[in-house]
């Protein structure tokens, strides 16, 4: 308990906790869960956009999309490394993802159905992600905070890229405008759900905030997201699919309709539109790649032996 108090003092003083420092088991566990889930989200998050790489409409768009999905793989890599400093290997985490012990963000269980989804995902999903992630640059665990600095820099680029795709669509022909509105209609509520359930229903929150693993509440971030996004939608000439959306002079915020939390819990518990397909795509990549990973390991061992023999 003295250790625990000293730990909290460090946190409160804004010091970073580093891998070799003492930390409470709960802190370590919570971080592994959070960083692991974040890493898995980057990896699974490659799939909905990867779905359009082979159908990108121009060479430029294809290159942008490839670069973006590649960045996500890179983010996954940083985050797995950050999690590894907490004593869990990437392979272990992958197995936990595949057998359902670890989760990924619910948003990636929604399908990408037209090219406009490449815009909507960048604009809204990366937008919501940034809103979540910017404060995490100040999180108490050093490796995580540093990983988030790199991640955030690239994410804001992705968000702009998504917004530009939407711009092209709303400035395009009637079909393209229709696609853009349709993508917004499908993506709006799932994006709102990305911040997690309302504060009153959220577990883990207060301890995580005390530990500075979590910096803002879900509802604070969601409100910030709505406030920033509504004018962007207006600028695009698109209608947010919420008849209850109104500017509230008193609060200085937009009032909005809560997402359907039953849908959220369905998705979380495995019944989202794509849960089964997403996990089986990852499972297949993992299984199909086993021979290659084994071969790489075997070759490295042979090489090491040969080098040793040559010395």
């Amino acid at each position: 308990p003295a250790k625990l108090a000293a730990f909290q003092v460090r946190i409160d003083a804004g010091e970073k906790i580093e891998p070799k420092d003492w930390m409470p088991e709960g802190y370590r566990k919570t971080l592994i869960r959070q960083v692991g889930q974040h890493a898995h989200s980057e990896i699974v998050g490659q799939l909905p956009e990867g779905n359009w790489i082979t159908r990108a409409p121009t060479l430029e768009r294809k290159a942008n999309l490839l670069a973006k999905v590649q960045d996500e793989a890179g983010h996954g890599l940083y985050l797995y490394c950050a999690a590894e400093t907490l004593g869990v290997s990437r392979d272990e985490m992958t197995e936990m993802l595949l057998d359902g012990r670890m989760k990924y963000s619910s948003i990636f269980n929604y399908p990408t159905l037209t090219w406009a989804d490449m815009g909507a995902v960048g604009w809204l999903v990366d937008g919501a992600a940034i809103m979540n992630q910017v404060p995490l640059q100040r999180t108490s665990y050093g490796p995580y905070a540093r990983a988030m600095v790199r991640v955030c820099k690239e994410e804001s680029f992705h968000q702009r890229q998504g917004f530009h795709i939407m711009m092209a669509m709303v400035n395009g022909n009637a079909e393209q405008k229709r696609m853009a509105q349709d993508a917004l209609n499908r993506t709006w509520y799932p994006a709102l759900m990305m911040f997690g359930p309302s504060d009153k229903d959220s577990v883990h929150s207060s301890q995580s905030m005390a530990w500075k693993i979590k910096i803002n509440t879900n509802d604070e971030l969601r409100q910030k997201f709505v406030d920033e996004t509504v004018p962007q939608a207006e600028y695009l000439g698109l209608t947010i699919p919420d008849e209850g959306l109104t500017w509230n002079e008193e609060t200085g915020h937009y009032d909005y309709t809560e997402p359907d939390w039953n849908e959220f819990f369905d998705v979380i518990s495995g019944n989202g539109p794509c849960n089964v397909d997403r996990l089986s795509a990852r499972q297949k990549a993992w299984d199909d790649g086993a021979w290659l990973r084994d071969a790489m390991t075997a070759h490295a061992a042979k090489k090491a032996t040969r080098n040793l023999a040559a010395e």
């Binding site: 790489i53 590649q70 290659l292």
Partner: protein, 260 residues
């Protein structure tokens, strides 16, 4: 140097030549991009996506210049997304399906081992645009070759299974390599005009690289000398290209004239 050809002929042949360069990287770039997000390991995924990005960048240069030479106002995108199979000029090897990651890497290696000496030679092209594109591309190709060489060796000299997979990839691809060194009127015209060497003159270099790498990879060169052809002239592609184009071109074909 242009011999008896008149300027229009030369332009037509230069256009063909440029399509061959551009379609090779377009088609291979597309196949490579199919791995994005589903490769066997994160590091491989990132590396291969990087290759795909380079290839698509090179496509923009070659096809962009091809469109200029043609002079009908077609952009690189028009050429990529609005031609049907028989107007494609890539070698057949680059359009066959990825199958497993082993075949994908073996193909990349066999092609890289050609591209490095080929693009190096093109840096001295009498055509300044060709020389410039080659100079930019060759740096990337050298990097690709380093990487694909290393991976082919690791996978050939890995486990029994990985060796068998790489050997079967090599056996499958072997009949397609001869087309890289094909020679026809277009090649001759480019050679005469000092635009490019005859591809066949690179075979020695290519074999040196390939033999050395495959021997380190504990793989056996197939002894067949048979070579498929039909890709670089467009006379006869494989059935795989049409399926690739149906996917690749779907938006441009479905919404003609739209800007994206």
């Amino acid at each position: 140097m242009a011999g008896t050809s008149n300027p229009t002929q030369i332009d037509g042949q230069l256009f063909e030549f440029l399509l061959r360069q551009g379609d090779n990287v377009l088609v291979l770039g597309h196949r490579t991009s199919e791995w994005c997000g589903v490769a066997p390991a994160l590091e491989e995924d990132i590396a291969l996506t990087n290759t795909a990005l380079d290839l698509i960048g090179q496509t923009q240069l070659w096809l962009g210049y091809a469109g200029e030479v043609e002079g009908k106002g077609r952009s690189a995108n028009d050429l990529a997304f609005l031609r049907d199979v028989y107007d494609f000029r890539n070698v057949l090897m680059l359009e066959v399906p990825n199958e497993d990651f082993g075949r994908t890497l073996m193909r990349q290696f066999l092609f890289d081992a050609f591209q490095v000496p080929w693009l190096t030679a093109l840096c001295a092209s009498s055509n300044q645009n060709v020389a410039d594109i080659a100079a930019k591309s060759v740096k990337e190709a050298i990097y690709h070759l380093d990487r694909s060489t290393e991976t082919v060796i690791a996978l050939g000299d890995g486990t029994e299974e990985s060796n068998a997979r790489m050997q079967s990839a090599l056996d499958y691809l072997w009949p397609y390599v001869g087309e890289l060194f094909g020679e026809d009127d277009v090649d001759k015209a480019m050679h005469e005009a000092g635009v490019a060497p005859m591809p066949a003159t690179l075979r020695g270099d290519w074999e040196t690289t390939v033999n050395s790498t495959l021997s380190q990879a504990c793989l056996t060169l197939p002894d067949s000398k048979f070579a498929h052809s039909g890709g670089r002239t467009g006379f006869r592609h494989t059935e795989h290209l049409g399926h690739m184009l149906a996917t690749m071109q779907t938006l441009q074909r479905s919404y003609p004239g739209a800007a994206w």
